[in-house]
């Protein structure tokens, strides 16, 4: 992670049905800096504005007011360059496996790079790289995407976006509908991809636990505005407010909040079993144990 902002929004606001009686603000006054190489989790319940926000990052939506800067330049400054913005910011939508359409896995992954007008050998390299990023062997190249399991389809669809080698990869709920093992595989895959490529990754999720496991910072959206944008630990120190927003906080954070309610002074910014176990161990050793 660097101190160079790759993606910036300035007072970004988007209002559905602008000018009518039924104006609905989807996002309001969003001003954030996302740093080059950072992995940011975006959290918020349905209707909080998180999906509308990511649609602005690759110019699928244009703010009613405010600006979006990619690497310092306003993405709407030159409308003829909008297409290249979409190559630099790759968005993988929910249930991307429904968008698979080609005869073979290789052709499907090659669709993006082909549209970018790349040479065949460069396309081939990218297809191979992308497959390895998602943990699938070259043996998958000639398979039909429709013969794969649900989890494999999901990974092929994500590989299709990775093959465009975007500067910013945006994944909307990449773990939705997967079982615990599938979820873990996809999360590890995303973390590895970031580590290997140094790419910026934005991960939209309902699950605080998933996001906490791999993100550097968390952006919490609530009622169309930014509620928090900070490190995982600092965001979880607001556990009570998160709960009041109707968000599911990690189970361990919930445990710590309950202990606090019972008058026990514990930190609330821990979120894994091992963190809480270590904290309790040191407390119990410290002589706070009720002698039995």
């Amino acid at each position: 992670m660097t101190n160079h902002p790759i993606l910036t929004t300035e007072d970004l606001t988007y209002i559905y049905q602008k000018g009518s009686k039924n104006e609905v603000p989807a996002i309001q006054d969003v001003s954030i800096d996302i740093m080059q190489g950072e992995l940011v989790g975006i959290i918020g319940h349905t209707g909080s504005g998180k999906s509308t926000l990511i649609e602005h990052f690759n110019a699928l939506k244009k703010g009613t007011s405010g600006r979006v800067l990619l690497d310092g330049a306003d993405i709407w400054a030159d409308r003829s360059k909008i297409r290249s913005v979409r190559f630099h910011v790759g968005v993988c939508f929910q249930y991307p496996e429904y968008q698979l359409f080609e005869e073979t896995v290789a052709k499907d992954i090659a669709f993006g790079p082909k549209n970018m007008g790349l040479q065949q050998d460069e396309i081939d390299r990218r297809v191979s790289d992308a497959l390895s990023f998602v943990g699938l062997s070259d043996a998958y190249k000639e398979k039909s995407p429709f013969d794969l399991s649900g989890g494999e389809k999901r990974r092929v669809a994500i590989a299709g976006i990775m093959a465009m080698e975007p500067q910013v990869l945006v994944l909307d709920e990449p773990c939705a509908g997967l079982d615990p093992r599938g979820r873990e595989t996809v999360l590890r895959m995303i973390a590895d991809y970031r580590a290997k490529t140094g790419c910026t990754v934005l991960l939209v999720s309902h699950s605080m636990e998933d996001v906490a496991a791999i993100a550097d910072r968390i952006l919490v959206m609530n009622q169309s505005r930014v509620a928090f944008f900070d490190t995982v630990e600092r965001v979880f120190s607001h556990a009570e407010e998160l709960q009041n927003m109707g968000l599911d906080i990690p189970q361990m954070t919930h445990l710590l909040l309950l202990l606090r309610e019972k008058g026990i002074d514990v930190p609330v910014n821990l979120y894994t079993v091992s963190q809480v176990h270590a904290m309790l161990q040191s407390r119990l050793k410290g002589g706070n144990v009720n002698a039995e």
Binding site: L259, L284, V289
Partner: protein
Amino acid sequence: MSSFIEFQHVTFAYETEGEQPKPVLHDFSLSVEKGDFVAILGHNGCGKSTVAKLCNGIEIPQSGCVMVDGLDTKVEDNLLAIRQRVGIVFQNPDNQIVATIVEDDVAFGPENLGVEPKEIRRRVDEALKDVGMYDHRFAEPHKLSGGQKQRVAIAGIIAMQPACIVLDEPTAMLDPRGRKDVMKTVQMLNREFGITVLFITHYMDEAAKANRVIVMDKGSILLDGVPRDVFQQCDTLRKAGLDVPQATSLAQLLKQDGVSLPGKILTVEELAEQLAAVLH
């Protein structure tokens, strides 16, 4: 209580052209009591969705049999009666809504059963009230959230007044709020109306709300019991690719350290209660 759905030594494999059939279930036996709330937990590919499809004759076992309320699913003449007794709700709400208006969609089932129009009207209203979607009865389904659509799908099933509902990962595509609403609806149907529920999921927090949890792995039953007992088996659950309740997991670690935490801890609330006593 008597057995309502009975799997007797069921073997089942999907036929794929030009390939050896992959066995999904082998000598699988299970008996679900009338009025019970049973959760089936397992990772993708363990055979749990196949169990759902066998329950009302969408799939037929290759050997052994599935009996619903004493009716064999293998006998074609039984199928209508079986499907009146067992309704299935699937994972993707968008794949099971057929009409353009919510109340029309709920009426689809009873209409096909040949129920009197007056009675359909009554059942549709009742069903929509039961799932908390009556205020949306004139809405267009595509404008609803995932959780709302799933509750409409459940209303469509209960309008057929089945004795049993099988739900195959009904919450997998929903957000946390939608998941809670669906779960509450299903619990209410079981408690208030005595509907037998078979709830298939990979969320252990949902399975913990059932009376009985069955953990499946590789087409057979790995664990079977009340949630509190099943979820103590942390190692077995992890090996089956499932999550374990974090409260149980932490309690076991602390017990190994010599901390006194009596009983089988399942929920965060229970652990907080006991830990508070130790820490004070």
